[in-house]
């Protein structure tokens, strides 16, 4: 406890949170005003009042200071004007299909807002309150905008059903003009604004039915005219696709109303546009919703499994459990895992190895090392002798040998210099070598438990839906708990349960 005073003179720039006195907390943690509003009886009211609007203006200024966001703002203003115009025309033409199409314009507005938000996110550093950073704001914005558009489409569906009962007259005067204005603005916005989050989501999410049908059609078209293949065969941008399809539906509506006065076509094409909106937005909202639900992205499961299998074959590791991996924003993985090790294994060594393996995939990683029966005094926290750490152990991880040897040299230096190191454990580890030999024997049998050891790809593909994947989990759990049955004779059940959440 004396150490507290000593450390206080250190500079506060390092990322570590030092031990500090009570007064110090206010200085370090005062980034956002929550500490003041929550803890402070000092500014009880003024701060809360200002915080929302004032903060918004402040953040907006921060974003607007960047020149790139001016373009987005300009497009946003144009979009608002265009949307207002279109809504007026919707009212005057009394056309449901045009309304449904206008909602796509509104969606473009949302996507512009999302774009602004993503440029804001890149400027922000992780704060105390949002310790993972602000990347999730992007995900939430994508999710909210896709869901809002789908709700709008649901509303359109409801209105259209009501219209089927009694079809009002549709005036075609502004219908075609509105269609082309909306199409032009949508395409302009889509193609000229680089919308990072939506581009990512539209590529990463599974294909919508609209895309599938267009792909299918264009395949058969490419069978006839192969020259079109470079243009038609790549995955279509879903937004461009839905805009074109909606405009096409509106064109047909206009034609039929003009020629034959079929007013019901308007309602039908409104339904069609609403369904297409659903089809386009649904995969994206599923993808972003899964990120928000903190799920393991299915495309990394194969890689993760490989890494976890490697981890479980590390020397001294008995079991890997409570593994939680999820994406923070779009892309960056975070995760935590509990690793149970043998009583005589070196915790720091195993920790370093596990972290090293998983760090390639998981950027924000927390590994808890767990040891059974650690209170028993005999073999506590021993460092394995350097001989048991064969060079191949390192070479397998890093790929080449020289660093391993240099590392050992490096390691030896602090070992000798620090007096606080515990005395080295007894070198005669009779059961250390068997452990190394047995481990590979255990794992091949576990391979057969896994439903997805066929190279990840196929197994993952089958689980793309929201469906429960219970069997695979059980396979997984059993595969990793195969090891403790072998070693776990000295395992106390009370202690294992203590560390389970």
């Amino acid at each position: 406890m004396v150490a507290v005073d000593v450390i206080n003179f250190q500079d506060s720039d390092t990322p570590l949170h030092r031990k500090k006195q009570e007064t110090d907390t206010y200085v370090l943690w005062s980034g956002p005003p929550w500490t003041l509003t929550e803890q402070g009886t000092i500014h009880p009211f003024r701060k809360t009042h200002k915080s929302f609007l004032g903060k918004f203006v402040q953040e907006f200024n921060l974003v607007a200071s960047d020149r790139r966001s001016w373009k987005i703002l300009l497009f946003g203003v144009m979009n608002v004007i265009c949307t207002a115009c279109l809504l007026m025309w919707c009212n005057s033409t009394n056309s449901m299909a045009l309304t449904a199409y206008t909602y796509l314009t509104i969606f473009d507005l949302f996507s512009l807002i999302t774009c602004l938000m993503s440029s804001w996110v890149t400027m922000k550093k992780p704060s105390q309150l949002f310790s993972f950073g602000f990347e999730r704001f992007e995900v939430l914005a994508v999710f909210a905008s896709t869901v809002l558009v789908q709700l709008g489409a649901l509303f359109i569906l409801k209105e259209s059903v009501e219209r089927f009962v009694e079809q009002p007259e549709v005036h075609t005067g502004r219908l075609l003009v509105g269609t082309f204005v909306a199409l032009f603005f949508n395409l302009l916005t889509l193609l000229s604004v680089k919308n990072k989050p939506f581009v990512y989501v539209s590529e990463a999410a599974s294909t919508s039915w609209l895309q599938e049908h267009v792909a299918d059609l264009s395949r058969s078209l490419c069978g006839i005219v192969p020259a079109l293949s470079s243009f038609l065969l790549p995955r279509m941008n879903p937004f461009v696709l839905i805009n074109l399809a909606g405009a096409f539906a509106l064109g047909i509506t206009y034609m039929l109303i003009e020629i034959n006065n079929y007013n019901a076509v308007d309602t039908a094409s409104a339904v069609a546009i609403a369904l297409m909106t659903f089809g386009t937005m649904y995969p994206m909202s599923v993808y972003s919703g899964k990120v928000l639900l903190q799920t393991t992205p299915s495309h990394v499961i194969g890689q993760l499994d490989k890494l976890l299998r490697e981890v479980s074959t590390l020397d001294g590791v008995l079991e890997v459990r409570n593994e939680h991996f999820w994406t923070v924003g779009f892309g960056s993985l975070a995760g935590s895992v509990h690793v149970r090790i043998r009583r005589d294994a070196n915790e720091q060594m195993v920790l370093a190895h596990v972290t090293n393996r998983l760090h390639t995939l998981v950027s924000t990683l927390t590994v808890q090392i767990f040891k059974d029966d650690w209170t028993r005094p005999s073999l506590v926290s021993g460092v394995l002798p350097a001989a048991t750490l064969s060079a191949s152990d390192y070479g397998g991880a890093s790929g080449f040998l020289p660093p391993a040897s240099s590392k050992q040299a490096e390691e030896l230096d602090p070992l000798t210099s620090t007096p606080t190191k515990p005395s080295s454990p007894p070198p005669e580890f009779a059961f250390n070598t068997p452990g190394k030999n047995i481990q590979p024997v255990v794992l091949p049998s576990t391979h057969q438990h896994r439903p997805y050891n066929l190279g990840g790809g196929l197994g993952v593909g089958a689980g793309l839906g929201m469906g429960a994947r219970l069997p695979s989990v059980q396979g997984y759990r059993t595969s990793f708990s195969a090891a403790p049955h072998r070693y776990g004779s000295n395992l106390l059940p009370s202690q294992t349960s203590q560390y389970r959440p």
């Binding site: 929550e38 370093a352 606080t420």
Partner: protein, 758 residues
């Protein structure tokens, strides 16, 4: 790349099964074409015949003639093995059903006219089976089949809605004398009961008859094997059905006087129809199915049939074809009957398209969904794949299981009961609206259905929350609840927005409102919603008492209470203790209640004082209230979804972290992440740096205990000593990692020095 292209229609055929080149099959195709043209002609003629001949007589004559010819050709009694008595019963059943189907088909013909009958009724089994498999099973066979099914449905809808068949209006006022038999009368009354025009009734009837026909023909395949060939069965069955129809025909001809002037003049057309529709078609169909394979013959056959039907429909009333027509009556006004309309043309195009798509053989083995990963980790999908390949579960079992699950838990049970109540009210309203032909009621009913979708969402979320953790959902499904609350919040925002816009437009131009029907409906809605509010507010108290298990359960909302108290509802503390999902549902019900109250108030104001402006003002007020009451829900849900430190644990966590630092041997901590995962999971990860001589497990135990007191119940602690950084710097080969590690090591050493000074 070749593989990728192989799935297209053209080259896929080459790579897949080997098809006989068209040149060798030309004669069969020509034969098929001729047959189908004759068949279309026969159908057109039978339509004309059916105007004078009674339908039962007509079917009887057809069956009888067919039986006579087939007996002559097939000789079913003299050849083959004897037919057992049991098989005769089966043949009887077969005959009865087939005569019912032909009665239905020809009755549809009288209703719809020949062209529409051709379009609707003459699809081959292959087409209908693949249509049904697309519609009712998940493994339809790729997007192209789905497209075909969609085309089929669109075509039927086109016939139903966009085909303004003028004659049908005339036929609709058919005199009672037109019904000359009990059968037709029953069918007419059935169609009239459905409340659609005869023509549309005919369309529905024909679709049903088509399904029946396909089911029947698939079912009778086994019997035909048993009897000894389809042809023999056909011969026997038509004979039996003629015998079955005989008593009916005799009774009919005894009781009613025939409209036919001379039967002798009808012999030729009957022979023609029997030959073209019943005999030739049957034989050629069976030959072509054998030679061309079923899908191909189905495709060509339906295309030829539809095209010739279209041609005939165009020229049937033309003087050129008069010599073709057996029933050339001078004074016929038939020129307006069942004319070609745009709707029929469009639907014929769609039918041809859908038939050619649906009858093309499905290519298996293209369902691979995920082909690999791009270097950035973005998955690459095979565009053909349908990703959702679930093992199908029988529907009743699924319903039973999910019902059981719903009724197990309190929350979902509440939602479910309320949903049932709401749906019942909605359907009563809709039914009453249709009955009294009140548009207001119908639209209000649809509005209620729209609202029910929020309840359904809540129900699903409440159901999913209890699912077990899986590999993908490693923390369990608890978060679904929060997401559903968020979506419900957005839903309410959208509703508030629409109400707002609507009321603004009404404020500018207040429309006249008919208040007659409004009051009872809104009172009913109010009662239903009040029941819901009672149920859900009870649920929240229940939830609060149960919520104590999840540690420190402070209220979620800070700003929200002011608003909800603002409109003076006794249920306003609904936000407390309830999970986000239930809050969303509760707010939804509350909004509906507010809507009903607003309608009642505005109705009273309008009917008493004639203030038309009261309605938009009421809805403005309601929209604002909904908006304000949703904000706290959205805010809380956002905080959870964005992985903010849970506000109610914030202070505890700070103290806990300070306590952690005071634990013996702990030097510092970094990367403290704490977030609420779901209603009762607060997760956290933290990295600790400790001195080298401290036992890690003890520190972990202490830290876990301290943080558990602060409410974190899913904790991962990474304990790092100096040795860890040394190992890491040894293991990591990249320059940056080494740099970062050495920096961290430096800082640790610094500490150590600090402690060493002491």
């Amino acid at each position: 790349m070749d593989d990728k292209y192989s799935s297209n229609v053209i080259s896929g055929g080459k790579l897949g099964r080997v098809e006989v080149p068209n040149a060798r099959l030309t004669r069969y195709i020509v034969l098929l074409l001729l047959t189908k043209m004759l068949k279309a002609l026969g159908i057109f003629e039978s339509y004309d015949l059916l105007k004078v001949v009674h339908i039962v007589q007509f079917v009887f004559i057809l069956k009888l003639g067919c039986a006579v010819i087939l007996l002559f050709f097939q000789k079913p009694f003299s050849t083959g093995k004897m037919v057992a008595k049991r098989q005769w019963i089966k043949i009887l059943k077969h005959a009865v059903i087939s005569s019912i189907i032909s009665l239905l088909g020809f009755f549809g013909l009288t209703l719809c006219g020949p062209l529409r009958t051709l379009l609707l009724f003459e699809h081959s089994d292959v087409v209908v089976i693949s249509l049904l498999s697309v519609l009712f099973t998940s493994s339809g066979g790729g997007p192209s089949k789905t497209r075909g099914a969609a085309f089929f449905i669109i075509a039927v809808i086109c016939l139903l809605l966009f085909d303004n068949d003028d004659l049908m209006a005339k036929m609709a006022e058919h005199p009672e004398g037109h019904h000359d038999s009990a059968l037709t009368h029953a069918l007419y009354t059935g169609i009239a009961f459905l409340g659609v025009a005869d023509h549309k009734g005919g369309v529905v009837l024909l679709v049903l008859a088509l399904c029946l026909k396909v089911a029947f023909s698939t079912h009778s395949r086994k019997l035909s094997v048993e009897i000894g060939g389809a042809k023999r069965l056909y011969a026997l069955s038509s004979l039996v059905s003629a015998m079955v129809l005989l008593p009916w025909v005799t009774v009919l001809s005894a009781t009613t006087e025939s409209k036919v002037e001379s039967w002798s003049g009808l012999i030729m057309p009957f022979v023609m129809i029997i030959f073209s529709v019943m005999i030739l078609d049957f034989y050629v169909e069976s030959i072509c199915t054998a030679k061309l394979e079923a899908p191909r013959s189905a495709r060509y056959g339906s295309i030829f049939l539809f095209l010739s039907g279209l041609l005939l429909a165009n020229f049937w009333t033309h003087p050129l074809t008069d010599q073709l027509r057996a029933m050339s009556k001078p004074g016929q006004q038939a020129s307006t009957e069942h004319v070609l309309s745009g709707g029929v043309l469009v639907s014929a195009c769609f039918f041809i398209l859908s038939d050619s798509i649906l009858s093309s053989p499905s290519k298996k083995g293209q369902k691979g969904t995920l082909v690999g990963y791009s270097p950035e980790g973005i998955p690459l999908y095979n565009l053909m794949g349908d990703a959702l390949q679930h093992s199908s579960q029988s529907l009743p079992r699924f319903i039973k299981d999910s019902l059981k699950q719903i009724l197990e838990e309190y929350d979902s049970r509440q939602i479910f009961y309320f949903l049932c109540l709401n749906l019942a009210f909605t359907f009563v309203e809709l039914f009453y609206g249709v009955w009294t032909n009140s548009l207001g009621l119908i639209s209000d009913g649809f509005h209620m259905l729209f609202d029910c979708s929020a309840l359904v969402l809540g129900l699903f979320a409440a159901l999913m929350t209890r699912w077990k953790a899986t590999r993908i959902y490693s923390y369990g499904y608890g978060r679904v609840e929060i997401l559903s609350g968020f979506i419900n919040g957005l839903f309410l925002m959208v509703i508030a927005f629409f109400v707002f816009v609507e009321s603004i437009s009404r404020l500018i131009d207040p429309p006249n409102i008919n208040t007659v029907m409004l009051a009872p409906v809104s009172v009913g809605g109010l009662i239903v919603n009040l029941v819901g509010i009672c149920a859900f507010s009870h649920a929240h108290s229940h939830g609060a008492s149960k919520g104590s298990c999840s540690g420190h359960e402070h209220g979620h909302s800070h700003g929200g209470h002011g608003h909800s108290h603002g409109h003076g509802h006794s249920h306003s503390p609904g936000g407390r203790g309830m999970n986000a999902n239930m809050r969303g549902v509760f707010l939804h019900v509350l909004a509906d209640t507010l809507g009903s109250v607003g309608v009642i108030i505005s109705t009273v104001l309008i009917s008493q004082f004639g203030w038309l402006i009261a309605d938009p003002i009421c809805s403005l007020f309601i929209a604002t209230l909904i908006f304000l009451s949703v904000i706290p829900l959205l805010k809380d849900a956002c905080e959870v979804l964005l992985l903010r430190i849970p506000p109610e644990h914030e202070k505890d966590l700070n103290f806990a972290l300070e306590k952690v630092q005071k634990i013996e041997g702990v030097l510092s901590y970094r990367d403290p992440h704490f977030w609420r995962h779901s209603a009762n999971v607060v997760a956290g990860t933290v990295h600790l740096q400790i001195m080298s001589d401290v036992v890690e497990q003890r520190v972990i135990q202490q830290v876990t205990a301290v943080l558990k007191d602060a409410g974190v119940n899913n904790l991962t602690v990474q304990v790092e000593k100096e040795a860890y950084f040394q190992h890491m710097s040894g293991l990591s080969t990249g320059f940056h990692e080494v740099l970062a590690m050495t920096q961290q090591m430096e800082s640790m050493k610094y500490y150590k020095d600090g402690t060493c000074i002491m």
